[in-house]
């Protein structure tokens, strides 16, 4: 009975022959890698697109404005009727002011939190705090911008009466809060990957937890920590909405942090949200500013990449 059932069904060889339409299958197997490669090359095309766009439009801009006066000019008055000036230094100064304040806020708090989470906190505390830091990192920057404008600036004005409504200090502090979770979480990852045997070795020699943290763990994780800070600086340079809302639109080449400023990103936003006609010098100037911004962040990213690659310690 059982034998008969088996003989009724097609043999295994027949089944294989039936199901493997060899030609069709081979075609699919050959086509799929090609299709996937085309998809993968879109990310490369995006980079090429960005670089080409910026370069081509910047070259058009340089037909109107000499390169020298763009790079070394200390006045940026693109909207002036008579003699518009396009010297990028004031915009760079604005960007640097915000970035430096942000770093001053974010580095001590970020690395402090990282040390606490990695060396002192219990597993339970870490499991509660890390997701909260992730929430902080996931808040849209427009929300931070609103927070800077409506809370941080009025708060600071109570301590510094001279502070203008638009200034560098308030967005700088808020950008610092924005990049803090990034520094904390990347540095914590770097410290956590330092093997426990090294910690235990130091503890057995009579070190306190602080000595272990500062003399053993931080030096061992230093490349990761520095890379996280450099990446965070790159984020701060490219940050747009916080500085657009709370920074103002007065590009100035000085060291004043209490008055209105303008960063490179805020200038691009200002021109885009107004109506500078297509083809005007002002229209092309956003590409030249964008290109400068792109180079700044690219250099920072490459430095971070090089640090984490070169000085990575393998245990």
């Amino acid at each position: 009975m059982a034998q008969k059932q088996v003989s009724d069904q097609p043999s295994v060889q027949e089944l294989i022959a039936k199901s493997s339409n060899k030609k069709q299958k081979q075609l699919v197997e050959k086509l799929i890698p090609i299709i996937l490669f085309i998809i993968a090359s879109i990310s490369v095309l995006t980079t090429i697109g960005i670089v080409l766009t910026l370069i081509v439009e910047t070259i058009i801009f340089f037909k109107d404005i000499p390169v020298f006066s763009f790079l070394f000019g200390t006045e940026w008055y693109p909207f002036a009727n008579k003699e518009p000036a396009f010297g990028i230094l004031p915009l760079i100064a604005g960007t640097l002011k915000v970035t430096i304040i942000a770093v001053i806020v974010a580095v001590p708090f970020g690395i402090g939190s990282a040390i606490f989470l990695s060396e002192y906190a219990s597993d339970t505390t870490r499991r509660i705090i890390k997701p909260i830091l992730e929430i902080l990192a996931g808040i849209p920057t427009i929300v931070y911008g609103f927070f800077a404008l409506t809370f941080v600036t009025p708060l600071l004005q109570q301590f510094i009466p001279d502070l203008k409504i638009f200034n560098a200090l308030s967005p700088g502090i808020v950008v610092g809060i924005m990049i803090l979770p990034m520094i904390a979480s990347l540095s914590e990852d770097a410290m956590s990957s330092v093997p426990n045997s090294i910690r235990e070795g130091a503890l057995a020699m009579g070190s306190t937890k602080l000595e272990v943290a500062l003399k053993v763990v931080v030096p061992a994780a230093l490349s990761g920590i520095v890379a996280s800070v450099v990446l965070a600086i790159s984020r701060a340079i490219g940050e747009t909405m916080i500085v657009s809302l709370a920074g103002g639109s007065t590009p100035k080449f000085d060291f004043d942090v209490t008055g209105s400023i303008q960063t490179m990103t805020a200038y691009i936003v200002q021109v885009s949200s107004g109506d500078a006609g297509y083809g005007t010098t002002i229209y092309y100037s956003i590409y030249s500013v964008g290109f400068t911004l792109f180079l700044f962040t690219l250099v920072m990213n490459l430095i971070a990449h090089a640090i984490s690659k070169k000085y990575r310690e393998e245990y």
Binding site: A40, I50, F109, I142, G145, F146, H305
Partner: protein
Amino acid sequence: MKYINHESVVKRMMSRLTINKVFKVIFFFATLFALLTLAILFYRIITQGIGYLTPEFFQNFSSRFPAKAGIKAALIGSIWLMFVVAPVSIILGVGTAIYLEEYAKKNKLSDFIRMNISNLAGVPSVVFGLLGLTIFVRALSLGNSVLAAGFTMSLLILPVIIVASQEAIRAVPNDVREASYGMGATKWQTVVKIVLPSAIPGILTGAILALSRAVGETAPLIVIGIPVIIQFLPTGLLSQFTALPMQIYDWAKRPQQDFQFVAAAGILVLMIFLLIMNSIAIFIRNKFSKRY
């Protein structure tokens, strides 16, 4: 005879232990700073915005009068935007990840693609806006439409989705792949029927987190010229539209005090939108994640 002076050891140890304790407190307060800021931020926005969060707020278009301003166009616009960004970015992101993890040979070209992705992740969003303005809005003449904004946002979050998908695919152990080959499956069959099903929770979690970044991103939308005062809903992919962060930006910039509250209400809507997306991501991660 005593070799170790017990008292001096205790004395020296005490000061080191005290310093240790002091620094523990300092590090704890450094951590608290971030949490405290988050609490203040939420408290401020909820107390400012909750009063304006009425049913009319969801039914009205934006207006010159704070009391009449609503978020209808922006909310529907953001949902439209997601319907473009989600399929485009997930297909491109997962496709790239499959190529890099399963097909790419270890040569300079694949190294270059990987390096390129990590650099692309660091490009400021405002620069992506310039790319979108030149390529999608002008060169392909899509105008400031849902499609142009959707493509721009897709490219912006592409690196995040690629990296998340790569990690999810890498987490599928090789044993399973080899078992599949052993049964006579081809490479593509293995990818589709074995690798992807186990990697999908990780891929979806990463994709939703990336999409929630696209929901909150403002700068590229401003640069490609998305308008804020729109009195109609999008009718198609080539229709003009506005989005939640654009609307909030517009309200926050206005000088009247009352618009600050409208902006806060808009932020609340945006945050609830993000909260829903993130809850879905966490749900998927907990429900479907498999461990080998």
